[in-house]
Symmetry: D2
Subunit: 364 residues, 4 copies
């Protein structure tokens, strides 16, 4: 049991605080002989990096990753891969004013209630800065998926809702995702989202979001029932991301309102393979992948650090008001997209290894 | 790593198939000196038992649990508690007709794709019959919570939606839950749900549902960030229940549409304790409990075993039609209520033990 | 984390007390499609069974194992295999006289110190009866090894010392092991051992022993450094057997007295394969198998239940004398042989699965 | 499951190679509010540091440890503690000559057989340099023991045999251990050991050793039967140390030759507490501590890197000769003493946490 580790066979352990000297992770169980260097990891970190548009935090971090172990002459050796990212922009003083106040919606109160101590600088361990380690581990997971399946991992994410404004799924275009600062697959929504967020920023408020991540081309057979179900692990993976309050697979909550004959995806044969006529299951049945797209959606609550003053209490039990200055994402859901992708890659890499442990080969 | 185990310190491992001789579980890590007998467990199993109304499966099982180890002279000894429930009503022949066909919406295809073999009798291992073991373990978890916190576990569940018909939350009455066959907290919805399900049963169709489970009176401080967050473990726990497609905490998916100043729950002092003015967080911030009600909701898809004929394929790759006869729940969500309660109790018992391992005392 | 589980991917959990209704185990992670029935397991249990000679306990147990799950139509399905053995000869009254006294050398005192409660009937959970579950799991592990390596598991054990009388290793004959009641590979020692044990039995005393277990034909490459080293797992496996006080690999403790140039096993090529000129390493270097025989030895202390009166104390803190009547092994080391074999098989099966998880194929 | 992690609740994960940029570890599960800084860790690393006498390797490393996370304002926060030690003296060229040859007694062949790749510089991951991370984690474990038990950890180790020359246990003096370069508790043996090792060094050979580590003042009740037995975990802990080939508890292998009435430690009452009249058990019965001294001994094989030329093979399958130049310990057993102490501290810290998880208080 390890509070700060995730995964069974492809397993990583993260460490570090928002305003400490560095953050990082140790990846254990990675297969050997995978070509790996910092240049395989950095582009994914860059996608998540702060400061890339006016809609995300202006904290300045190069997020440069360094491989400290586990790679020899450009290849993984099968031993632990230690990754480190130094923190550069640590304006701790931003936080000193509010150091004794519990920010509403934040983990300030609960860390204090649990541990009796907390690193108050930028949330310390509870900061979303920790997710950079996940993105780094996710980049390695993609390489594992490629080695095991024999083809590049096809794992992508998109933002499908900001505040109450959802995209039009009929206009879904994966190519669009990389062309706008929101990871939106729908070009038509961008202007609305921009003005909504500009308005919120001016008002000192913030917005929530819904993220969808999809893995294509994964084989049927991944998942380890009953308590290592693929969807159970995905639920845990996504819910562990900062500010996430809900996770769903395929039709998700909407499945409750479907009739049985609508929801169950029918099967036909095509070119000697089973083909489903729909994908309400989101690619998972009984906790095992069907071979269809694996579709996971998660809800991100609005950023809790806002300029609007709110009622709170202090560590010494006094009532107080708080307005969070600092540098914050008006919608943390945006930068959650690469994090969700990373977690999906990590879960899949893990289950590919779990599968071949028990079955002796990769799924067909 | 264990596919069929759940929990870290309060840990249980389940075994058994729908139509094998028995099912059961082994609970490991239970504290000693807890008074425990079959009579502490049986009432919870009886709540989940099939055949209690026309709205659930008519399979006849007494679900009588037997304690085989770990209890001496009426008290737990700290050693593994082995629980066994014999299967009684095993009409395997119900399944022989469709043994080679993959039932849409079921795990038939995926078990076969993964393992190359499956016990086709009633779903075998993938059957919801496995959840009886969870309910039994959950009964023990309640006793652990009582021993550790010094007060009876207050963990309850209710059905808040069948098909597209939701309850009126304004009429929520916990006392009502035990008075109707749906675990509905809203008396006014019962007639509508009854006629809806009667209609679906006649049509050979089925309905999905949404379940809400709540733990009251739990201390602040439970949860082990980052990857042992209380909400992440709850998400995994609930998503591992058969037919569940989504999980949310507190405001859940609706949080995406809230403004930051609405979502973050403000704090005041009352009688020397922190009190929150709202509970959008569902009692969890940063993966740690706040001391408020812990509120989890999950979506159950409509029963996949339906009389309406559907298109499918066979293990030998032929296209076929299938209509599932047997005895099935028109809405599996109903019997998922006690299962969700059990999983909530199990997660909380586990985190109470995890907490005192690291912190040396139970949370205040 | 699970106190009563062993193994990572081939993992079993045992339950049950010496004088409860039954004992058993749940095996998780077993690959599917392995032919398995009770007749594959029973012969191994019979080797360990009490009452087979005057040198072991006279407790009468048929030790009949029953498979309750995980096997369908004669083959493993990849789901948990639940095995149960009913206790038949439970003369609890043998123990009532001494129920409050702590037997020297036994776990009576420590279970009481830890849990504040203990099942005093025959040691309860601390009884060596638990090892029957290990032997049953070991039988399944042998089948896994056979499936993964493509040849029958060649894992055998022998008794190499009783009291201070060691065998002559020059006379080692594996065929002899099954011809005498001691699992001795040296026919010449049997008469001496018999008269030694007869003398001890008459005197109401007991003897210790040393067991050696060997796996032949295992591939190079098994083991998962640093903390999943093959020898570290074997050390844990053997030390967990009742009454074991020491474990060594290959030359073991004697290696301390060897010169570097003697101890390090030199290598040559033979028929295109690496061949070692000696095996001081016991088949393991750096925690990974070399392809040579894997050789493990463990020391078993003398049976603590003896007729000779000894000084002790009671649970209420009074001083007392105790002489254990009941039915006991004058040398528990004898029946530890099949248990050691089983644990060796279990560790190897687990590491074969761990290896192919990370490496994608079985070792060459 | 994690190959490079050790412990359940006090858990550490190590990373790094002998000649990479750095080594380190991440400690997870440490209780909060423990005063901790580098100065608490450094002295223990200094005890293990190379180059302190002519009897150990002359590699020059300051082994300066740096805390990267988990400590805030001088106290642990309950979050992961990341420790890093930079490698300074990396004369990789020492190894280039033999890069394709497998050094007898080393893990060169097995890493290559397993992974198909190895970092040949100084053993890479299989180097004993990894043990510095253990010593650092052990220093933290000592602080945990102190916090939980309320008194300083009393854990010490000594060398009891080099080659075939054992100490005289009658002259055991703990104070002597810190006065000689061998950690010998017997002043009279030092001259003999010195001349023995000087002779071996000149001859280009090496010697093995036996180490004994002892924990005093630990409470009764530590250990988690059946597969988390305290002695089983200690066996795994010690066997995982580089070059260790055997582990024993208390009387150990010698127990095999004792009569039952000699081996079982009798009990009396003294000042209201149970007192044992002897300690053949080494402080552990049934896998649980008795409250006596916990005594563990382990055998270290002679250093495999020696100047004497030996027969071997190369990665390409050619036969070759090899003599290892570099800088090596003539007796690696010496520097294994602080490593054994650290592993003992780590196992005990872990079991103190495991105990209070299940039992709710520290053992009495």
């Amino acid at each position: 049991m390890s509070h700060n580790s995730f995964g069974s066979l492809f397993r990583f352990t993260t460490w570090g605080e928002s305003h400490g000297p560095a953050i990082g992770c140790v990846i254990d169980g990675c297969p050997p002989l995978i070509a790996l260097s910092e240049t395989d990891i950095q582009p994914w970190l860059d996608r998540r990096k702060p400061g890339q548009s006016r809609f995300v935090t202006q904290r300045r971090e190069s997020d440069a990753v360094r491989i400290l172990s586990g790679v020899f002459e450009g290849k993984t050796t099968g031993t632990p891969i230690s990754l480190m990212i130094e923190n550069e922009d640590q304006r701790s003083k931003d936080y000193s004013e509010n150091r004794d106040k519990f920010r509403p919606g934040h983990a300030d109160f609960t860390y204090w209630a649990k541990y009796g101590i907390r690193d108050h600088r930028g949330g310390g361990r509870s900061s979303a800065r920790e997710t950079a380690s996940r993105v780094a581990a996710g980049a390695v997971a993609r390489k594992v998926i490629e080695q095991v399946t024999g083809k590049a991992a096809d794992i992508r994410g998109a933002l499908v809702q900001i505040g109450s404004q959802a995209i039009d799924r009929g206009r879904w275009d994966w190519a669009e995702v990389d062309r706008n600062p929101f990871f939106s697959p729908d070009a038509a929504v961008i202007e609305r989202w921009s003005s909504q967020l500009d308005g919120l920023r001016k008002a000192g408020s913030s917005a929530g979001a819904i993220v969808e991540v999809v893995a294509k081309g994964m084989p049927a057979g991944l998942g380890a029932p009953i308590y290592g179900k693929l969807d159970a692990d995905l639920a845990s993976a996504m819910m562990s991301i900062n500010a996430v309050k809900g996770v769903e697979i395929g039709a998700g909550f909407a499945a409750a309102a479907l009739a049985g004959e609508t929801n169950g995806d029918e099967m036909r044969m095509k070119d000697g393979r089973v083909e489903f006529k729909s994908n309400h299951a989101g690619g998972i049945l009984g906790g095992i992948s069907t071979g269809q797209d694996i579709v996971v959606r998660f809800a991100v609550k609005p950023t809790s650090s806002i300029l609007i003053a709110r009622e709170t209490v202090t560590a010494s039990g006094d009532e107080a008001e708080i307005a969070t200055k600092g540098r914050h994402d008006p919608c943390v859901g945006i930068r959650a997209v690469p994090v969700g992708e990373a977690m999906l890659a990590i879960v899949l890499a893990d289950h590919l290894l779990r599968h071949r442990a028990q079955m002796g080969s990769r799924p067909a």
